[in-house]
Symmetry: D3
Subunit: 247 residues, 6 copies
């Protein structure tokens, strides 16, 4: 089985960290590749960046589908473009926020999320509602660090995240904590040990869910909201993305 | 007051119809211009098209902000990129689905939506949930016509829409009907007369809400989810959209 | 266009303040009159007062309809009698709580409300639920001042409200603040400046929504919950309010 | 124990039927009196009538409190003025819609409501939401008969109600049916026998709940939304209802 | 009327306290007996204990049905096995958590619950959701005492509960407090006096609801989820519980 | 990795079918064993049977934990005793209803469930609410066949299920269908082919989720509702299940 993990921002070091986190949990027979687009934002911090990561994300996805990957992970905690991705390919596509929330709900009655910036809080709250996790979600907390601070060696970012995770455990009455940024994927083991509650990362969770879906022979339903795009013209620089007629 | 109505698809005839519908309800002192992007999909039918309309939509928006428009309408019933638009400019931005739903809730206890294609149904249901309108929404109905069929002179599309609106009134127990596509903006008067219940179009509703917001001196809150984009590099063909440092 | 703003309590000074706030945002061609009943409570502080403001409110409304007003605002933040008003006239009727909440939802992901007395908190929470705004509403806060304290020149009431608004911004994670009493309508500009987040008043918001509805040619749907009252006898002192046969 | 059942409309024959239904289930030591106001609508069919029943309803209530009744039932299925009533007296006050829904939820997983007119449907749906019963409520059905048709000897109204109850059992997947009008209180036994599912009436249910509350020594909490009205002036014909200072 | 109160744990002293609380509020003609199983856990602290109380609970129930009791109370605040009990007998069965919540909702707009151990918090939150009380429930608080500490003469448990109830009143904005353990049934009078808000116990509330249901001639609907068990074989030590064929 | 699948009823042929369905999707390195209790009901049809399957289910679980299984599947679509199981062991435990719903939500915007008996409908609706899937769930349909009919060679049960699945696809507007009984686990491939929408079985889904959880090193959080049972005495025949003191 071959899974493609797409980091929808263009920061190579983050892609590598995400790839390592994914490979660390992949099953024996699973090949994991991690890529990022060549166009778009260096980090995704809010809905404006999210809008501009989509062409690059979908380009990676379509190339991956052409190269025969069996499943895909969208590795940004805002779960950008999930419905578009699901409509564009036959293989399963899983976002890391939804993955973390679904997995957390199997082992814990409630959870909090610790993310990077305050502006991500409403995005994650809305995702929780979309996924039916609004009653499980105790609180979304922002550690108040830029996304790329997590990439700087020697920065205090990891310690800041840990402090916020510990506050969540102390104050929120939550049974688990989800790390709300793909760039935190390397912190789960340390934080689980430090807090005594399960601390989950969405990249790892998404790999296991995609492995599961592939194992079950399941891809996105082509009835309803994830139906194949309808063939039509796209104008201008995006013309290459225009959906072709099917069959 | 100058309002820019942005049709996020590239079909010029639809932009003109939308512009006419907007001008038909605009107040005496309001100038309404209607534009569409030069790049992107010819129609927006599902989440894949929606993803690819965003660069063009935001380009129109940023140009409009530069040209001094006081407020903006995003004239596609999927309300694409609303949060991104609100974060990108200081002026108010209103989507036509949210406009129609909020306005309907002021005059009717419940409503149904009649849209084009079945694949739009889950999109609109999710928007209703996001806007808190899930209990008002009796049902989303698809007339099962392509978006651009509404642009073809002499097509049966308008009659098909009317038949579905009449079914909604008969079967759904709804007190109003919302037309779920910007391309239906010219049908409200006829359908209100035909059914005896208020039939609403989102383009007209959005114009009045933007006029109201401008009159109140309100733009999107820059605290929280619509905060200004953070300055950073965008790679590749999207580099021109990279947020500049502020202040 | 002529809009009648009805203050459902009998305190004349408050009516004048409300009228001024309404006229301050009305469009060029809009005439705004503000009235209050000659019977009923001097202020509306809780459901008992609310029950007794209704005959006077409806009397003002019916007189206004007879005098040809194009739309109506009910200017008490408990939105008393809204459904009764909508059923009684053909013109649109908007309450100031619903107006503020709908407008706030167009510019902010979330909001808190600052009202007068603790007993108003459950009333406003229930209205938020009715309007589908329960997920946007971070918290209803009571400044713990009587409604009419806002009418006393030189009182500390405005400062107390400001302190509570500042607490809301600091503690609630809200992106906007709504002032939850018609008597606070003169404070928005100062408080927006003081806090840096949009501070909204329902009177102004309602004027713009009524202007919009009138501009769209919309009144309450006469199908469903706002259908015309059925002709019947009313006994005793209320006999004059008995619905007449229609047509 | 003395319970006062208040029919908030002015139709004496309906008051008598309600009183009989109440007495039929009252415990050995319970005295039940049934009254109706001398002012207000002859029947309550929609929010306009509901607004005008409130002064008469509260007058009956306050007289009853003066006469030493231990508890009160508001016997109109719209549950008019419940919060006002609870704030006005120390004794418990129960509405017949809430009574029927709470009682039904103790014996059935779900229920439908059969009421009189279509315009009552949204009222009852909103009450269900307020009471937390929106997930139990399968459907509100209107038999499409005027309230007072139930008072006419030899009318077809009862048969029409029965037909609708039978449709509810067949089509709604409900485990119980609630009769949604005080004027149907005499039909439960016959309809339970006819359908094989429990058919509940709110008048009887409310009597038992008030008996229970009195037996528990409970009245409305005077903290929060049901706090005593604040002393103030009421102008005009309603002056006699002005809350007096307490203690 | 004969009501059987079943304490589903095996601690006799607690059964006696529960019986006394039940008899203290029972109507003149009501005979109340309180029993507990001879098998199962000494206290119910979490879902594991809850699973193992069910055979004993159902044994008591079936014996009670055989002995002609008219109604049943399940006297553990986790409301264990309620649906099973309702399906097993024709008479009404009420749990003490649901009883307390429904009764509280008739006299208070909101309530908090004070229970024993933190692990009971999610159980009670889920019950509130099931009963539609999630919006009334301000907070579930754990006094952090073992269930049986309430049975030890001279223990500090009652004082600890009182302190937590007082915190609830001060901090939660609740209008009433529910004691979330059958073992607290003797504390309501003292705590109501101490706090000035209604403090409710589920045992007493359940007695009055069962009296009401019996008085109304209502038992669980045998259509839907509480239908009679289907006859079948039960293997092993549970064989005696196998449902017999009906009629 | 060793996974134990527990069929909580005592019907051996069903256990074998479930085991085969589980092994059919298990990963290369996963050993799957399927067991059923020696005590309890032959099938689980409603809450009464569910109560009596718990001792046997927990006995199997505890034996499995003793035997070193890495994870557990509870293979009844009512998800009986899930919280009790999670509190009783350190390894992950997944129910087949929750598994099917979470997996379906990753590939489809909405789903219907086809189960056996009408009495299972409210059970599954309540599970959907508990799991946050109430908005995804279009409808629960009962094929109206006894659970064990699916075990009879040559019965019409499979055809009846297929007909109901086809009705769901035609009438419910769902994008996927979940088979709501462990005894239907062998039908997915055929029904997916017959309908063109994904048809899911919970046994297979649960296996993949447990594999995922084990691969992530995750078990139930021991903070909150799944904390270890507290040591105490259990009386009578259940004494052997009494929780021992830990560490």
């Amino acid at each position: 089985m071959k899974i493609l993990v797409i980091n929808p921002n263009t920061t190579r070091s983050m892609t590598e960290k995400i790839g390592a986190a994914a490979r660390a949990v992949a099953a024996a027979g699973t090949i994991v590749d991690a890529v990022n687009p060549s166009q778009g934002p260096a980090s995704i911090e809010g809905p404006y960046d999210e809008a501009f990561c989509l062409p690059g994300l979908l380009e990676c996805l379509l190339q991956g589908a052409g190269a025969g990957y069996d499943g895909f992970v969208v590795a940004c905690f805002d779960d950008p473009g999930l419905a578009a991705c699901r409509s564009a390919v036959a293989a399963p596509v899983v976002g890391i926020c939804e993955a973390a929330m679904h997995v957390a709900s199997l082992i814990a009655g409630s959870f909090s999320v610790v993310t990077t910036l305050p502006r991500a809080v409403p995005v994650i709250e809305e995702l929780a509602l979309r996924y039916g996790m609004e009653r499980r979600l105790r609180r979304v907390r922002a550690a108040d660090i830029p996304v790329l601070a997590l990439e700087e060696p020697g920065s205090a970012a990891a310690a800041t995240v840990q402090a916020e995770v510990e506050r969540a455990v102390r104050e929120d009455g939550c049974d688990a904590v989800i790390l709300g940024c793909a760039g935190m994927a390397d912190l789960t083991t340390r934080l689980t040990a430090a807090t005594g509650v399960p601390v989950l990362d969405g990249v790892a969770a998404a790999i296991k869910l995609v492995e599961g879906l592939v194992g079950l022979g399941l891809g996105s339903s082509k009835v309803g909201g994830y139906a194949w795009p309808i063939a039509k013209a796209y104008a201008g620089t995006l013309a290459g993305f225009a959906p072709a007629p099917r069959g």
